[in-house]
C-alpha cells in the first residue's frame, strides 16, 4: 500500500497544477483567436472563452502517463485512449456543432478500445445481493456507458461552474468508494479526474473565465464512465451521478427524442433583475433547473449551490452503497 501512496500524491499534484497553470494561457489564446461565446445569464452578456477541454485533457493525460511509469497496466492505457477519443468527439462538436445523434454514436465508438483491450469484467455487482455474470449484455453496456456518462455531464453544463464542480464531487465520491471496495489501482487512477475538475473549477466557477465546452464535459464524463467500468463500480458511479441523471431523464421525457441542446428552447428565462426563472413556453424542455426554479426565480449562484447540495447528497448515497457492496444477504 505504501508504494502506492507516493504515485497517488504525485499524480494528484501533476493533474491539479497542470490544469491550474495551463488554463490561464488557454483563456488568453482563445480570446486572441476570438473563440468566445456569450454568457446569456450574465449582466451585459460577457463573452467567455471556450472550450477548456484542451487543458482538462492535458492534465488527465500527463497524470495518467506519470502513473503508467509506476504501474504499467492496461487499465491506464484504456483510460488514456478512451478519454482522448471522447475529447476528439467533443472538440469536433465544439468547432462544428454536429447533430443530436453524432455525440452518442461517436462516444459509443470511443468505448470500443475498452472491449479490444479486454479491460473489463462482465460481472455486474449490486449492493447486498452480490453480482451476476452477463457476457452478452455487458458488452452492450460498455458501449452505452460512455455516451451516457459523457452526455450526462455535458447536459448539466448549463451554469457557471456546474459541470466541473459537480464532477469534482462525483469523482471524489467514486474514488472514496473504490478505496472502500479495495480496488486500489483504479482508485489511484481515478484521482486525476477529481483534481483536474477541481483545478478547472477555479476558472469555471461564477463568474466563469472559461467554459469547458463539449470537449471538456465529454472528456470528464467519458473518463468517469471508463473508471466505473474498470473499477467494477458501475452502480456506485450511477448513484453519484443521480442529479445529472435526473436532468437527462427529465429532458428526454419532455423532449421525447435525442436532440442537440443548442437546437431546443432554453428551459429558463431571465428576469429584469438577472435572476433565472422557469420558461413557461410549451416547447421548452423540463430539466433539473425547472424543478429547482419551481420555487421561484433564483440567482445563478443560488441554483449552483442547490445543485452542489444535491451532488453531495448523491455522493453520500454512493459511498453508503459502496459499504453495502461489501455486505451480502
Amino acid at each position: 500500500m505504501f508504494d502506492q501512496i507516493v504515485p497517488a500524491i504525485l499524480i494528484s499534484i501533476v493533474a491539479f497544477f497542470l490544469v491550474y497553470v495551463i488554463t490561464p494561457f488557454l483563456i488568453r489564446t482563445l480570446e486572441k483567436r476570438n473563440f468566445t461565446v456569450k454568457d446569456y445569464h450574465r449582466k451585459g452578456g460577457a463573452m467567455i472563452p471556450r472550450p477548456g477541454g484542451p487543458s482538462i485533457l492535458i492534465g488527465i493525460i500527463a497524470s495518467e502517463i506519470t502513473l503508467y511509469l509506476f504501474f504499467p497496466t492496461t487499465a491506464i492505457i484504456t483510460i488514456i485512449i478512451t478519454t482522448s477519443l471522447a475529447f476528439v468527439v467533443g472538440i469536433i462538436d465544439d468547432r462544428w456543432a454536429l447533430g443530436g445523434w453524432f455525440k452518442p454514436l461517436a462516444l459509443a465508438a470511443s468505448a470500443i478500445p475498452i472491449i479490444f483491450l479486454g479491460a473489463y469484467d462482465s460481472n455486474l455487482a449490486f449492493p447486498l445481493f452480490g453480482s451476476f455474470k452477463i457476457p452478452a449484455l455487458y458488452l452492450a453496456l460498455i458501449i452505452f456507458i460512455i455516451p451516457i456518462t459523457g452526455n450526462t455531464i455535458n447536459s448539466i453544463d448549463v451554469l457557471n461552474g456546474v459541470a466541473s464542480g459537480f464532477m469534482t464531487i462525483a469523482s471524489f465520491a467514486l474514488t472514496i468508494s473504490l478505496f472502500i471496495m479495495q480496488h486500489y489501482e483504479i482508485a489511484i487512477a481515478s484521482l486525476p479526474l477529481g483534481f483536474v475538475s477541481l483545478a478547472f473549477y477555479k476558472y469555471h466557477k461564477f463568474p466563469s473565465k472559461i467554459f469547458p465546452g463539449d470537449s471538456g464535459a465529454l472528456t470528464l464524463g467519458a473518463m468517469y464512465g471508463v473508471i466505473a467500468i474498470l473499477g467494477h463500480v458501475e452502480i456506485v458511479a450511477a448513484i453519484a451521478l443521480l442529479p445529472a441523471v435526473i436532468n437527462s431523464f427529465l429532458f428526454l421525457s419532455s423532449v421525447k427524442r435525442i436532440v442537440e441542446h443548442r437546437q431546443i428552447r432554453n428551459p429558463t428565462t431571465i428576469t429584469p433583475d438577472f435572476k433565472l426563472m422557469v420558461n413557461n413556453d410549451k416547447d421548452a424542455p423540463v430539466t433539473l433547473l425547472s424543478l429547482i426554479l419551481a420555487a421561484g426565480p433564483m440567482t445563478e449562484k443560488q441554483i449552483v449551490s442547490v445543485i452542489f447540495k444535491l451532488a453531495l447528497f448523491s455522493a453520500f448515497l454512493a459511498i453508503v452503497t459502496s459499504f453495502m457492496m461489501e455486505i451480502k444477504i
Binding site: F126, P127, L128, F129, G130, S131, F132, K133, I134, P135, A136, L137, A140, I235, A238, I239, L242, P243, V245, I246, F249, L250, S253, S254, V278, N280, K282, V286, L288, S290, L291, I292, A294, A295, V306, K309, L310, F313, S314, L317, T321, M324
Partner: protein, 80 residues
C-alpha cells in the same frame, strides 16, 4: 417548490436501484439453459441473452415507475 422534493426523488431512485439490483441478481441466477442447449459454450451465451432480456424489462419497469413518481411528485409544480 421546496427542494426537499428533489432530494426525496433522488432517495427514491436510489432505493429503486437497490431493489431492482436485488431482483436482477435473484431472478437471473435462476435462469439457466442447462439441459436445453449443450453445444459447447452456447449455453452460457443463451442464458446470458435471457438474463439480458430480463434486465432490459426491469429497466423499462424502472423508468416507468420513475416517470410515474416524477409526475406525482412534481405534477402541480411543473408542466409535464
Amino acid at each position: 417548490m421546496k427542494n426537499h422534493a428533489i432530494f426525496s426523488f433522488i432517495l427514491v431512485m436510489w432505493i429503486l436501484i437497490i431493489i431492482g439490483g436485488g431482483l436482477l441478481v435473484i431472478f437471473t441466477s435462476m435462469i439457466s439453459m442447462e439441459g436445453y442447449i449443450t453445444v459447447g459454450s452456447l449455453e452460457l451465451y443463451y442464458a446470458s441473452i435471457a438474463k439480458a432480456l430480463f434486465a432490459i424489462i426491469l429497466v423499462i419497469i424502472w423508468v416507468y415507475v420513475l416517470t410515474r413518481i416524477k409526475n406525482w411528485v412534481f405534477h402541480k409544480k411543473i408542466k409535464n
